[in-house]
């Protein structure tokens, strides 16, 4: 039967997209918007990586350089990474994974997207007006007293985008509580749903603090109300406390959903039940909760109290435990599994290795005395790119490749998929591994010029970045081509478990003809599990 009754073909009018309340269409709207911003943020990175090929500042001046890395950070963090997996894959999959026809509040979901578009438009306006140069962290007193760039406009854009994030989180929490199919108990939920739930808790609990902080910044910069400036009664470290109260948990907004994706992919392509389901589920919640107690590790050299530094250092070590639990359980799932090396699996395995390296170097940074040496160097830059790019972007691409057949009904070229996963892995490591060394040798971050002895490693990094960039363009091309030339995927091309695979691809607007009833645990890949 070829009658187009799926969500993509239900209606072709522009208004049917812009006014849709279908979670799947909203996911596609997010996919298109954040892909655009990914390439905008990437373009800024191309420019400053080119500048860093040579020691003197010859391609761009210091002001432009500062604006470029600020634009890269703001766009990548707030307009790409934070919405990436939750707003695209989460929106698309959460209702289908729990056997629902939509999210709990479909109109609120559409409002989230419009707030995202409004906020990103304001932020883009700030860029077009000449940009801002504070770095994505907007630290005071620079952002309040010294910067002559478009700080207020940029900050207001981020402020608005925050509301989009809060509403998505709220929607997911209520949906997970209220809309599960009959028989789908909490411990039968896919681990991606647990990860989204933990992420949503952070989005709801932390993002308001970011909003308040940014408003206080605007109040001091614009109205001279003393919040952060000691000369008018403020505390100079208060901004950093408030900012990192959001922004450290925000790191987990950016990594937890990726961990959820990896749990789904690893178990599917090992043809095995996942090892230690409750441990993975609860470690997501543990990461979300502990993540709120560690923010002071960004402030070890800020003049913060030495005792606070010690407490934050110890608490930061604790976060390694639930993270390691996940890595061990994924590895144990692979053990004696019948592993197949399809594209999503390559991304997931890449994630495990790169996330582990990123996490371990995080422990180095959480160590008080060592942090004095490597603080504000390229070591830090390399560390968080291993988490956010090596971790989250790999997981995002893995998830896109895993569920692309479900979202579009088409299969992409498996050969090109594997090639691009390999190119991205190689390009990524060549870009960022030299930065660990650079930082350890003492090259500070955020400078457009540097001493001659750092050039070799910088050239390696820039060469890696061009490979990485090519690697990112590949999926963009072959995934688009698959829409026209790809074979039909069928319901379940990977023979995966999970309710989303029981509906046609692409799914009908209502997801399920009949609401499914769940009688078994997730990941019943049982057959090959014999000892």
């Amino acid at each position: 039967m070829n009658r187009p009754d799926d969500y993509l073909n239900a209606d072709y009018s522009v208004s049917s997209w812009l006014l849709t309340t279908d979670h799947k269409r909203i996911a596609i709207l997010y996919l298109l918007s954040i892909t655009l911003f990914f390439f905008v943020g990437g373009a800024a990175a191309v420019l400053f990586r080119l500048e860093l090929m040579t020691p003197p500042g010859d391609l761009v001046g210091p002001e432009t350089y500062n604006k470029l890395f600020t634009m890269h950070g703001v766009v990548m963090v707030f307009l790409f990474l934070i919405p990436s997996i939750p707003a695209v894959l989460g929106n698309f999959l959460l209702p289908m994974m729990i056997g629902a026809r939509d999210l709990a509040f479909p109109k609120l979901n559409l409002l989230s997207w419009y707030l995202f578009i409004l906020g990103s438009a304001v932020a883009t306006t700030a860029i077009l007006m000449g940009g801002l140069d504070t770095g994505w962290t907007f630290y005071t007193p620079y952002s309040t007293m010294f910067a002559h760039t478009n700080v207020v406009t940029g900050v207001l854009g981020v402020f608005i985008v925050g509301f989009s994030s809060i509403l998505t989180g709220l929607n997911f929490i209520v949906t997970t509580h209220k809309m599960r199919a009959p028989g789908l108990t909490w411990f039968r939920l896919p681990l991606f749903v647990w990860a989204l739930y933990a992420t949503s808790l952070i989005q709801v609990l932390a993002t308001p603090v970011l909003g308040i902080t940014l408003l206080l910044l605007v109040a001091e910069r614009g109205l001279g109300i003393g919040i952060f400036d000691p000369a008018i009664g403020g505390d100079p470290l208060l901004f950093q406390h408030l900012f990192w109260f959001y922004s450290h948990p925000a790191v987990y907004i950016m990594i937890l959903p990726g961990m959820g994706v990896v749990s789904e992919i690893i178990t599917c392509f090992s043809r095995k039940r996942i090892f230690g389901y409750p441990f993975i589920a609860f470690s997501s919640l543990a990461i979300a909760a502990l993540g709120f107690l560690v923010w002071g590790h960004h402030m070890f050299v800020s003049g913060q109290s030495a005792y606070a530094g010690m407490v934050f250092s110890i608490l930061s070590f604790l976060v390694a435990i639930p993270s390691a639990i996940k890595v061990f359980n994924w590895t144990a799932t692979l053990y004696r599994g019948s592993i197949s090396w399809q594209t999503p699996m390559l991304y997931a395995l890449g994630f495990i290795g790169l996330f582990t390296l990123g996490g371990m170097t995080g422990l180095v940074l959480a160590t008080l005395a060592v942090d004095i040496h490597v603080h504000d160097t390229y070591f830090v830059v390399a560390h968080f790119h291993y988490i956010m790019v090596g971790g989250m972007v790999m997981a995002y691409l893995g998830g896109i490749h895993f569920w692309w057949p479900k979202m579009t009904g088409k299969l992409y070229s498996e050969w090109w998929g594997r090639v691009s996963a390999a190119v991205i892995f190689i390009g990524f490591n060549l870009t960022f591994f030299p930065q660990f060394v650079l930082g350890y040798l003492g090259m500070p971050r955020r400078y457009h010029a540097y001493p001659d002895e750092f050039q070799v490693l910088n050239v390696l990094s820039t060469a890696g970045a061009s490979i990485l960039g090519a690697g990112y363009l590949l999926p963009f091309v072959y995934l688009l081509l698959s829409l026209k030339y790809g074979r039909d995927a069928g319901r379940n091309p990977w023979q995966a478990t999970g309710l989303e695979w029981r509906t046609p691809s692409p799914p009908p607007t209502e997801n399920f003809a009949r609401v499914p009833e769940v009688r078994e645990e997730a990941y019943a890949y049982g057959a090959e599990e014999a000892p």
Partner: protein, 103 residues
Amino acid sequence: MTTPHVRKGTPPKVYVSVYAVLLALTGLTVAAARFDLGRFNLAIALAIAGTKALAVIVYFMHARSAGRLIWLFAGAGFFWLAILITLSLYDPLTRGWLPPPEW
């Protein structure tokens, strides 16, 4: 799916009177600002603001008739606020404990 915890038909009278109370408390804040009560300035302003927030939560946000899960989430919000305040205060309150080294 119906949401059983939202009490249907809270009389408009309740909303109007809570609104009036909120306005009155705003007036009280303005009035209190005219007197310098020293260290009590902040305490009084915060007490009034807290009362208003409570009224909004209990009546406008229907917390009064809400189920346990809603209370759990509302409580979590306050718990996380407490984390923000205590761990942030830990820094300025202990900043002076360690005398700066003599260089």
